[in-house]
């Protein structure tokens, strides 16, 4: 009993932290002290000051403003991507798992093919070929990540569809689609939600990695990975250009990871 209470406490804090991250993302334009794209070469690589609370980067742009705008981009894109791949993956996986047959056999080959190479490399190839930009980054990550959810939901459907309540529903004459969406999916959704909440953290890191490699967002978009890429050239003189966006990625990823783990403890 005591342990349960303690866990709820931590869970509550994490929900507050996630809400805070989302609020920062929403209100970045209000919270940012400066225009994140305004260059001020006279004040380049300056330390913290009243005007620039976290100092400036090599082009004299306000680090704090850029990190806040970066939160906007990372949090919103990763939530969007996770939402899209969750819906697409679960729908495709459940339909194939339920109906089986030739479509399922093809899906299974597609899953094997998609798993055959590292997601990040496929995403690099897709964005690199389609052109750089946040829209293409989101498309590329969606194309890569839906497979995880399709694979998981497909295997969950397999374990559920032979159970008696499904047979009962069939005997009662319920349509296949109704069985899938109101009988099967509610039964398999919890582990998928846990997967999605852990997926948010890895998506944030993948967006950052793509931007870091120069195939994610376009310059001068304020994005954490892109900021680290720029800062990398200055590590001998000014480590904060790497550390500030680095801490932002770490904290955000950590909060979503912890949330996912706590969610798993609660739902299982």
């Amino acid at each position: 009993m005591k342990k349960g209470k303690k866990r709820d406490y931590a869970f509550g804090i994490l929900i507050v932290l996630i809400a805070l991250l989302i609020l920062i993302a929403v209100f970045a334009p209000i919270l940012a002290p400066n225009d994140p794209y305004n260059t001020d070469l006279m004040a380049a690589q300056a330390g913290p000051s009243a005007q620039y609370p976290l100092g400036t980067d090599s082009l004299g742009r306000c680090m704090l403003s850029r990190v806040l705008y970066g939160a906007r981009l990372s949090v919103f894109s990763s939530l969007l991507i996770t939402g899209i791949v969750f819906c697409i993956g679960v729908t495709i996986g459940s339909l194939c798992g339920y109906f089986g047959g030739i479509v399922d056999a093809i899906l299974n080959k597609v899953i094997t093919i998609m798993q055959a190479f590292p997601q990040i490399i496929l995403a690099i190839a897709i964005t690199g070929i389609m052109g750089i930009g946040i829209r293409n980054t989101i498309i590329a990550l969606c194309m890569v990540l839906w497979v995880d959810y399709a694979r998981l939901s497909r295997s969950f459907v397999f374990s559920v569809k032979g159970r008696n309540f499904i047979k009962a529903a069939k005997i009662c004459g319920e349509s296949d689609l109704k069985i899938i969406f109101s009988r099967i999916i509610p039964n398999i959704i919890y582990p998928l939600i846990v997967n999605a909440s852990l997926g948010i953290a890895s998506t944030i890191m993948e967006i950052a990695a793509l931007s870091y490699l120069g195939v994610g967002v376009e310059e001068p978009q304020a994005e954490w990975g892109a900021m680290i890429n720029l800062g990398r050239n200055y590590i001998q003189t000014d480590l904060k250009m790497v550390l500030i966006p680095g801490v932002a990625i770490f904290v955000t990823a950590a909060v979503f990871n912890l949330f996912g783990e706590k969610l798993r403890d609660r739902l299982q």
């Binding site: 093919i113 690199g128 070929i129 295997s155 990398r232």
Partner: protein
């Protein structure tokens, strides 16, 4: 029967490789950028300066004016003869380009995977056996950092600390063993963080099985249960887990090779994507796919050898 299985396995290989090459080819075909234009522009990027006629001519030479399926067929036909095309930027055959860059990446993968297995498997077992005790809690915090820190960030901080602050290692790698030391350490830290947790979960699942309770009740020593049964039963799922790390090592090296100026495959892939060097991209993707398929096959065979309950066939079913 064995012959039948081998044929099925080869068929599976062929289907997956065809699927992958078709997938990358389609993406390349859908690209809004024109490889003929990029070819003519070279690395200067003054794409607008080239006449329509010259582009059309170059498209004809490269076969890009033909329908998609004809293009794919032509490439496939040549690929089957071992000709994977010529790199736009280096004018060398793709196979040569891959062979040139393979060394450091393969070494990094082998070293990091070996050390990861040697560290993570015993640690995972210890964490499971001494659940919620000191080591488990320390590893939990370590894992948490490992999964929340992107590899490129860790790499830059390592580069700063070891090469700039401490000056223990050269900033620009001169190749060789020293050059791949730091990137391997980055991969190892990240992999150990993940794999330890996975091994721990697999062992814990086994420890909760009724046969363990049964053996304890019969007075079998815990050491014997652990080594004689639990580890034996966990070996196959752990092996499957490990096979995923080969892919992760390739992905990881693509991201971090540039930081440590390692002249490997990952760096080659990233830079050829930036220049839309399509045959190099295609060749790289196929190379990774072949490695993946071979590793998976080895894991399947090993699993069947370790655990006779697993029949040797491709896990095409729902298991995740």
């Amino acid at each position: 029967m064995v012959l039948h299985k081998i044929i099925m396995q080869l068929l599976h290989f062929v289907i997956v490789l065809l699927g992958i090459s078709f997938l990358t080819f389609s993406i390349l075909f859908l690209s809004p950028r024109n490889p003929a234009e990029l070819w003519l522009a070279g690395s200067d990027g003054n794409v607008g300066m080239i006449s329509e006629e010259a582009i059309a001519e170059q498209e004809r030479i490269m076969g890009l004016d033909k329908p998609f399926l004809v293009q794919y067929g032509t490439w496939l036909g040549k690929a089957l003869q071992g000709n994977f095309g010529i790199s736009f930027t280096y004018n060398t055959p793709v196979t040569e380009e891959i062979a040139k860059h393979m060394g450091p990446t393969v070494w990094m993968t082998v070293i990091s995977l070996t050390v990861t297995i040697l560290l993570a498997v015993p640690l995972g077992v210890l964490c499971a056996v001494y659940k919620d005790q000191l080591l488990d809690n320390v590893m939990r915090i370590f894992s948490f950092f490992g999964i929340s820190l992107p590899s490129f960030l860790t790499s830059i901080i390592f580069l700063w600390f070891f090469c700039i602050k401490m000056e223990w290692l050269p900033v620009i790698s001169k190749g060789g063993a020293i050059g791949i030391l730091l990137p391997s350490v980055v991969l190892i830290l990240q992999f150990v963080a993940k794999l330890t947790r996975q091994v721990r979960a697999i062992i814990l699942e086994q420890l909760e099985q009724p046969y363990v309770d049964g053996a304890i009740t019969r007075g079998v020593k815990f050491k014997n249960i652990l080594f004689g049964h639990v580890l034996k039963n966990s070996a196959a799922p752990i092996l499957t887990c490990i096979s995923i790390y080969v892919g992760l090592a390739f992905g990881g090296s693509a991201v971090i090779e540039g930081i440590f100026s390692v002249d490997g495959l990952g760096r080659m892939a990233v830079s050829s994507v930036a220049r839309l060097d399509i045959y190099v991209i295609q060749g790289f993707v196929l190379w990774v796919a072949i490695v993946y398929l071979v590793v998976n096959l080895l894991v399947d065979i090993l699993s069947a050898m370790i655990d006779p309950r697993i029949k040797y066939n491709r896990k095409s079913g729902g298991g995740s």
